[in-house]
Structures are given as C-alpha cells and as structure tokens.
C-alpha cells in the first residue's frame, strides 16, 4: 500500500504533479492545458481557463450541445414529446439514461419512457429531411395527442440545412398545439453548456408566459436547475409543501411544460445548477421582474440555509416559524446519522469532476462528514462557475460562444412585477444577496487543485499522486478509476441511488459514503499469495 497523502498541515502544493502531467503533452497542448489547471488560493482572484474547445484526440469527459439541450434541460419534462430530428443514435442514447424521475398524476401525460426519432437515412441527407420531419410530427400528434412537441436538431440536419424552426411554425399552425425547435446540433459550442443556453432560450421564447394563471399560493417560487435525479425533487417538494411554499414549476425535474407556461407568475426563482439554467433566471427577471437567488439543497446545512433564505425573502412570521420548525425536526434526524458516519469517514480524501455545479455542491456534503476535497473541477463550466459572477464582464467572448444566440429581453409592460423589484431593492439594503454566485474556488482550500475539463491522462496522474479514498465522476470514468483500486461515486446518476438533496438526501448520502469508504471488498483486491510469500510450485500432481 502506498502511504496516504498527509494533509494534517494543510494541502500540499501540487506543482510537482502538475508539471508531470504537462510534461507528457506536446508543447502546444501543454501550454493550453496549463491555463486550466489552477492551484487554488482563495481570495487571490486566481483565473482559470474554462469553456474553451476540447483538444482533438484528448479523452474527455464532455458530451455535446444536443446532450445539454435535449438530454439535460428538456429531457426530464414529462408532458412534451421530444422529437429528435436526426439519425437514430442521438435519440437512442438519450432514452431514459439520465435517471430523471417523474410522478404524473393519474391520467396525465408521461412521455419520458419513449424515444422519438425521425431516424433519417442517407436519402434524407441528399434530398433534405424536412418532409420526413413534418410527417413524423403529424404521426406523433395522431398517435400520442401531446400538448406540445419540441424538435431537436442533430449534427447532420444542421449541415444539410433543415430548418426545424420553420417546420415547427408550420406544424404549430396546422395542428394547433405548441411546437418549437432547437438548433442544438452537437458541433455547436464547445460542450453541453451551449446546449443548455439554447434550451433556455427556446423555453423562454416558446413556453414561459403562455398561461397567466391566477395565484395558487401565498408564496410562489420556481426551482431552477434541479433535474430530479434519484428523486431529489420529491424530497424538496416535500419540504416546500410542508412549509406552505408553492413550488410552481421546476426546471426541469418532475416537471411539466404546462407548469413552465405559468412559471412567470412566481415571486422568486431559486437556482441550483447555475451553469445549466442561470439564463432563464436572468431573462425572467428582466422581463417579469422576478428576482433570483442562488441556493444549494445539497447538504443539510445548505438546505437549512436555502430554506431560511426563502423565508427571509417572504418576510412572513408564520412562514419563518414553520421553516424553523422543519429545520429543527429534520436536523435532529440528520445529526444522529451524521455523527455516527463521521466517526468512520473523518479524514478521508475525495476528488470530484462532474457537471457544472455538483463538483461544488457535493463538497458541502463531504465536509459534513469530515471528508476533504483535494481536487475538483467541472466538465463544462464557464469561469464564473469557478471564480464567481463578478468575473462575467471580464470573460472574453470567443467565436464558439458568439454562435449561440443571446436573446434581447424587454420588460413586459403588463406583467412586470414592480412590487418584487421594490422588495428586492429593500432587501438588498439590508444585506440580502440576489443575483449572485461566488463560484467554487473561494470555497475550496488553499492548494487544492482545480481543473477544468479534466481528461483521462490527468485523472490517472492525480489518482497516483493523491491516492484518494473516493473519486466522484461519471459512468465513463467509473470503471477506469475503480480498476485502480479507488471507489468511484457517480454524481450524474448517483449510481442508481438517491435522493441526495435536502435532509433525507443528506442522510442517504452519509450512509452511502459509509458504505463506500468502509467496505471490505477493496481490501481483497490483492491475492493473499502475492503478499504472503509467493508460492512457487516445484511439484505437480497433474501432467
């Protein structure tokens, strides 16, 4: 066994391992990667390179724009037919694979279990696929009678110039239901992130604001960037429900297009995954005057903070009392498990490279059980996700980002909530924080290694250097890391467990960490005859 990294005097300076990593690369690549590997120094305003093109030939964690748009943002919404215009694979791979759970009421539509595709063939590439797309829309309407259809462009249809927006308009006219398109070809942008932006724009233009429903609750909120992996949203719905807070719409876990249509009647937007959905929050504030706050419901303390933040916003004594009652009751349950688990997990080391917010949020859960995150990074983040939103004005806009449409949003004269704007001004004066996200780096320890868009080679070297007790990433990394003798927790699919959000989620996660960090099987990887002097036979019974 290699001696474990000693962090009792703080995290060691990882310059040496960084140099070793870079030494393997061709010079130009080394120069580029160097800017994406940062030794953290909180408060020093260190800059990280993010949201730049993946280097060809590098084994990356990243996916494509289509995956971000269809798979992540629209995928979890149950009452819309997500029709993929392209070859069969694109729709096939996004079919139920993200573990978004949903709970339709009796008789409600749920299309999540279906995969819809135009399955374009070479003749469509030559002669165009719009006619086939129109037929597919008609057939989907005839068979399934959906309220809405979203159409997603894939690489080849973008190249041949099929216009999904024109087809959507025409079909909307013909069939009388909401039909809208997304130009989310896989080659756009540099990662899934571009797809998130495109999806945000599409939902904002085509869905939000379609239904000016009357108020249904005293305190109405939307939850943005929550995708209901492993039932996270159910746990949060439970908490809001008990507190008397009306969750109008979630974007987009356990969600419906119908609820998104009246989501603009909310009083407050909560953002969980900043990277995937901050665009909608910004646009809703500009158009409707709904303020947004960044929260995290990952971790018991985070959940408490978020609930209090919502209560403080609404400034209602009864609500605050109810929220405090929930916190007290839930924290009691959490503490019992946390203490028991922490005794076994304290001092362990974790690394995490996932998505565009989880690599940050899950550090809170680890902290609660005494696990230190020595290195972390995002798959498809931008600089603000690392350094905080203050740096947004200084982010250079490159050609790949410029290719993604930025909507010009104007105040809706009739629906703009002046009352909320006034409320926001008042709360700002009292020190309440709106429209802000500090990012991941300020919250990480000095000398922790922050890496954007980590690749396979860097992963291997880091494991060798840190010998972490746990690695968090996705399915493509899982068995690679585990073959090295390090358990990996998937933070995209939760390894088919969960929920991990809210209080119940925190308890689940603590117990899961106890299981993973204390399991016996890793100790059995080496054969006994390897360490207990190797037996070399000199006599054989058989020939």
């Amino acid at each position: 066994m290699v001696k474990k990294l000693d962090i009792t005097q703080g995290l060691p300076d990882p310059s040496k391992v960084m140099d070793e990593i870079l030494a393997k690369y061709p010079t130009k690549i080394a120069r580029k990667r160097q800017k994406s590997l940062v030794i953290n120094e909180p408060g020093e305003g260190k800059e990280i390179q993010a949201n730049v093109r993946t280097i060809p030939g590098i084994i990356t964690q990243r996916g494509c724009t289509y995956a971000g748009c269809k798979g992540v943002i629209l995928g979890p919404t149950r009452d819309v037919i997500n029709l993929v215009h392209g070859p069969i694979g694109c729709s096939f791979y996004a079919w139920l694979t993200r573990r978004n759970q949903t709970r339709p009421a009796e008789g409600e539509d749920n299309f999540i279990t279906y995969s819809f595709s135009t399955d374009i063939q070479d003749s469509n590439i030559v002669f165009g696929g719009e006619a086939k797309l129109k037929d597919a829309v008609r057939e989907a309407f005839e068979i399934f009678k959906p309220k809405a259809i979203g159409i997603f462009s894939t690489c080849p249809v973008g190249l041949i110039g099929d216009d999904v927006h024109a087809v959507s308009r025409e079909m909307k006219e013909e069939l009388g239901i909401n039909i809208f398109g997304f130009s989310c070809e896989g080659y756009r942008g540099v990662s899934q992130s571009a797809g998130h932006h495109i999806a945000n724009n599409g939902i904002f233009k085509n869905v939000i604001g379609n239904n000016n429903k009357d108020r249904i609750g005293k305190f109405q909120i939307n939850l943005l960037g929550e995708y209901n992996i492993g039932g996270d949203a159910f746990e949060l719905e439970r908490l809001f429900d008990e507190a008397g807070i009306t969750l109008l719409s979630t974007f987009s876990g356990n969600s419906t297009i119908e609820s998104m249509e009246y989501s603009h009647t909310a009083d407050l937007n909560l953002i969980m995954c900043h990277r995937s959905i901050n665009y909608i929050a910004e646009m809703m504030e500009e158009k409707y005057g709904i303020p947004w706050v960044k929260v995290s419901f990952i971790g018991a303390e985070g959940t408490t903070k978020a609930l209090r933040k919502v209560a403080e916003y609404f400034d209602d004594a009864k609500l605050s009392a109810k929220v405090e009652e929930i916190i007290e009751r839930e924290m009691k349950k959490v503490e019992v498990v946390r203490k028991a688990v922490k005794a076994k997990t304290e001092g362990k080391l974790a690394m995490m490279f996932v998505g565009g917010s989880r690599a940050h949020h899950y550090q809170d859960l680890f902290k609660e059980i005494g696990v230190t995150t020595v290195s972390a990074g995002y798959e498809f983040a931008h600089r603000d996700d690392y350094e905080g939103r203050d740096v947004i004005p200084s982010i250079k806009i490159d050609a790949d980002t410029r290719n993604i449409e930025d909507l010009t949003v104007e105040k809706d004269i009739e629906l703009y909530r002046e009352d909320l704007a006034v409320k926001k001004e008042k709360l700002l004066k009292s020190g309440y924080e709106f429209s802000n996200y500090d990012g991941m780096m300020p919250e990480m320890k000095k000398n922790s290694l922050v890496i954007d868009d980590i690749n396979h080679w860097e992963t291997e070297k880091l494991i060798e250097y840190y010998k972490p007790d746990l690695f968090c990433a996705g399915i493509k990394e899982k068995y690679v890391v585990q073959k090295s003798g390090v358990p990996l927790k998937q933070l995209h699919s939760y390894d088919y467990g969960g929920p991990y959000a809210g209080y119940e989620g925190a308890i689940n996660f603590y117990l899961e960490m106890e299981r993973m960090l204390c399991t016996r099987i890793w100790k059995m990887v080496t054969t006994p005859w390897k360490t207990d002097p190797e037996i070399v036979g000199s006599f054989a019974i058989n020939e």
Binding site: P26, P56, I88, F92, Y114, D119, I160, K476, Y479, V525
Partner: protein
C-alpha cells in the same frame, strides 16, 4: 403504466420511429476495435457521439471503455475535419501510446465529406504515425444501417489493413466472431480448443471487456486479437464467418484480398445453429468432432426433453440484431415454442427470407419486421393485440414487461440493468443451456408468483 400511451390501435407510420430496436453505426465500430490488442478507438466527429458510445458500452460491460474523439466544433464543419484528425493522431500517440488507432467516421464527418483514407494517408506521409504503429479506419455514417453495420465495417477495415498473404499457408482457421459478448468469445475459443483447431478469432473482446480487478488500471488489457494474428489471417486455410450482418463483408474482403475462402454460418445459438457451426469447423479444419462436444450437445437435448412441458406452445416476442434473432428463433421453434413477434431495426433483405424459412410452417401466425420503423412501439402494439408469454431482448424491454406482466429474459445489446451477459455465454450448446435455464426460470417464477395457492407447486 409506464408506457400508457401505447395502444393496440396501429397507425401506419412512414416517418416516425418510437423506441428503436437498433442504434447507430459508430458504437459497433468502437466495440469491434476494442477487440484488437493495444488499440484505441477514435471517433471522427463531434465529441457527443464518442461520449454517448463510451457511456452505453460502459453501462453494458461495466468495464473501462476508452476512446478518443476529434472534438469537432463549427469551424471543423466548415473547413473539414482534417486538421482535427491530424492533431488527434499526434496527441493520441504521444499521450496514450496505443499500437493501433482505429478511426471511425460519424454522420457529421461523413456529411461534410471528410475522406478518412486521404487524411490517414497524409498523417503517414508527414511522419505522424510512429514506426511500428498503425492507424486503421472504417466509414460508419449513422444514417445508414445500424450499430451492426458499423461493427461489420470496422471488422472489414481491420482485415483490409492487416491481413497479408505470404507464401506460407498456415494450419489455422479464421473465425470472425460477430457481435457477441466477451463470454461468447471465450466460449468460441473453448469449443475450438476441444476440437483441437488452431484459429485466429477476430475480434476478441475477452480479457478486454471482462478484465479482472487487480488494483491497476490497464489502458490496453491483455486480451484482443494481436497484430501478428491479424496479419496471419491472410495465410489461413479457411474463414468461418459467424452471422451474415456482422461478418460477411470482412469475409469477402479476406477472400478477395488473400484468397482465403469462407463459409458463412449463423451465430451458434441453440442446437441446430451450433450443429452447423461444429460441422463447418470440422470440415474446414479436417477434424472429427470430439466426444466431449457430443456430450455437451446431449446434455442440452436432455434438459429440453425433461422440461418440454413448460416450453411447448409458449408465445415469445423478440427484438434485437438479425444475426442473433435468426438462430434464436430457430432454437425456440426447436423447443416447440412460438416466436410470434420479432422486430429488428437493422435493415437487410435476407431477414424476411430467413424468418420465413424458420417460421413459415411452424409458426404461421408469426409477425416479423426489420429496417425502418421496425421499432419496439410496433412490437408492443402487436403484444397489446394478442399477448405473449415471454419477452427476449435488451434492457429496454423491461417497460413492456412491467406494464404487461410478461416474463422477460435479457439477451442482446444493450443490457444495462443486469449482469451476467459478459461472463456467461449464450453461444454453443453450453450457451443454449444457459438460455434454456433463463427461459425456464422466468416462466416458472411467473407461475410461482401468480398461481392460486392451492396450485402452488413444490416440485416443478
């Protein structure tokens, strides 16, 4: 109901595919390339394809699946992907040090007209491919055929590049293994060993996608067909190609290129297809069939006779790849079961002909369809019209199984919610025994769970 929008009313569709019974070419090329020793697959297109293919293969095998990508952005689509691929080749050989890079195209690089052989040729002439290293390639446009086509194209690409004819005839057979599991590759090798026939199995994913836990990650595990083996294929006595869809192309190429004649035979699933396989080997290798093989066959036949009452007349729905569905349907008919509904998204005109031969007289009510629109929605609608007793296919059948309360045996690709497929073969007589055991267990579990208490049996 998880598929509550599926009704028995079948609307004629010409454009919409719902719940496909196939996926796209590059994933097949990636799987085939993993069966060569020291090879890193490379996807030439935007990075999402590679990510999806790696994820799906990983979920199926629960093993590391390494592959690189050209990571196209819009610029590459406009100016062509040449510079991306050239840069990728240099980076891959420098950083990951494989012996072979197996490049396959995607619908994106195909649509813009990238010529892989020209680009790879340029890399070679500019000295970007180190001495003793290789870059092979296969065209895999996703809008043609299916994942099986991609597999076939890569296997063809492999033999085209490596197989050489020398003056010396080698006393060995080429076995083109078709898209089967690592466990099946291992089983093929075991059967050939029993028959004492020297062979080259291509590709061979055993010891690659079923590798042991040692505490050390191997980027290139010990398994896979080696370069000398692949080169020697041009000097073999004969080629046995298993499954027309996956291997015929490569077999023809070997014949044209190196004059190695081939026999096309079905994947050895069930009794008769395994019989034909064994006979083909015996004939091509000029060996007699050993007693141990007769014993294995006899055991399978014996168990079927013992359990026939549970099998007789049972209606079965199947979906998957033609190479598997054809011998599987035949096996079911041999056990007097009725494969009544069969769909495969993979096109190919021989599908209907073969199914007609197998089912025409025995199961005249059978419905089967392949190619465009032969999807799982259609199969589910057939089931709604007239139910079946058993489902056999990949993981995606679990929704139908639950909704309709039909026992379900997982076979095919992908299986992402159970294990076993990569460790226990379904090929050969021993594989037949495993299929049989799974079918019986599924049927009997249902009987046990649903029968009235007074008919609950201890002995079955």
């Amino acid at each position: 109901m998880l598929l509550n929008h599926t009704t028995s009313k079948i609307v004629e569709r010409k454009a919409l595919t719902v719940n496909p019974a196939k996926t796209c070419q590059p994933i097949g090329a990636m799987y085939a390339a993993l069966g060569i020793h020291g090879c890193l697959p490379h996807s030439h297109g935007s990075q999402g394809c590679c990510s999806y293919h790696r994820s799906t293969l990983t979920r199926h095998y629960k093993e590391p699946v390494m592959a690189a990508t050209s990571s196209f952005t819009e610029g590459a689509c406009v100016f062509g992907g040449q510079s991306n691929l050239l840069q990728a080749i240099t980076n891959i050989f420098t950083i990951y040090e494989p012996d072979i890079i197996a490049v396959h195209s995607t619908c994106l690089s195909e649509t813009i007209g990238d010529d892989l052989s020209q680009i790879v040729g340029k890399a070679a002439s500019e000295g970007q491919i180190p001495e003793g290293k290789h870059v092979i390639q296969a065209p895999t446009p996703s809008y043609v055929g299916s994942h099986v086509t991609g597999y076939a194209n890569m296997v063809e690409g492999i033999v085209k590049y490596f197989a050489k004819k020398s003056d010396e005839l080698k006393n060995q057979l080429n076995i083109l293994s078709g898209w089967v599991e690592p466990s099946d590759m291992r089983e093929l090798k075991r059967m050939l060993k029993l028959m004492k026939v020297k062979n080259v199995l291509l590709p061979d994913t055993s010891d690659v996608l079923d590798s042991p836990m040692t505490g050390k990650f191997e980027m290139y595990p010990k398994g896979g067909t080696t370069i000398p083996e692949m080169v020697s294929m041009g000097d073999s006595l004969h080629t046995i190609a298993l499954g027309e869809w996956a291997t015929e192309k490569a077999a023809i190429t070997l014949d044209n290129q190196c004059k190695v004649k081939f026999s096309m035979t079905d994947l050895p699933i069930g009794i008769q297809a395994t019989d034909r396989f064994i006979q083909a080997i015996a004939k091509a290798g000029s060996v007699s069939v050993p007693e141990s093989i007769n014993d294995e066959r006899g055991r399978l036949v014996d168990v079927i006779t013992d359990m026939h009452q549970y099998l007789y007349g049972k209606r079965v729905a199947l979906w998957g790849d033609p190479d598997q569905l054809i011998p599987l349907a035949e096996f079911l008919v041999d056990m007097d079961m009725k494969p009544v509904y069969i769909v495969s998204g993979t096109p190919g005109k021989n599908f209907n002909k073969r199914m007609e031969e197998i089912l025409g007289e025995s199961v005249p009510e059978a419905k089967y369809k392949n190619g465009a629109n032969a999807d799982m929605l259609l199969m589910h609608q057939w089931i709604k019209e007239n139910p079946v007793d058993l489902l056999i296919g990949n993981t995606y059948g679990k929704y139908i199984s639950r909704d309709e309360n039909i026992p379900f045996v997982r076979m095919g690709f992908p299986i992402i919610d159970r294990i076993g497929h990569s460790y226990f073969p379904t090929l050969g007589y021993m594989g037949g025994l495993r299929i049989l055991e799974k079918i019986l267990s599924a049927l009997m579990d249902k009987q046990d769970a649903t029968c009235p208490e007074e008919s609950f049996e201890l002995v079955m």
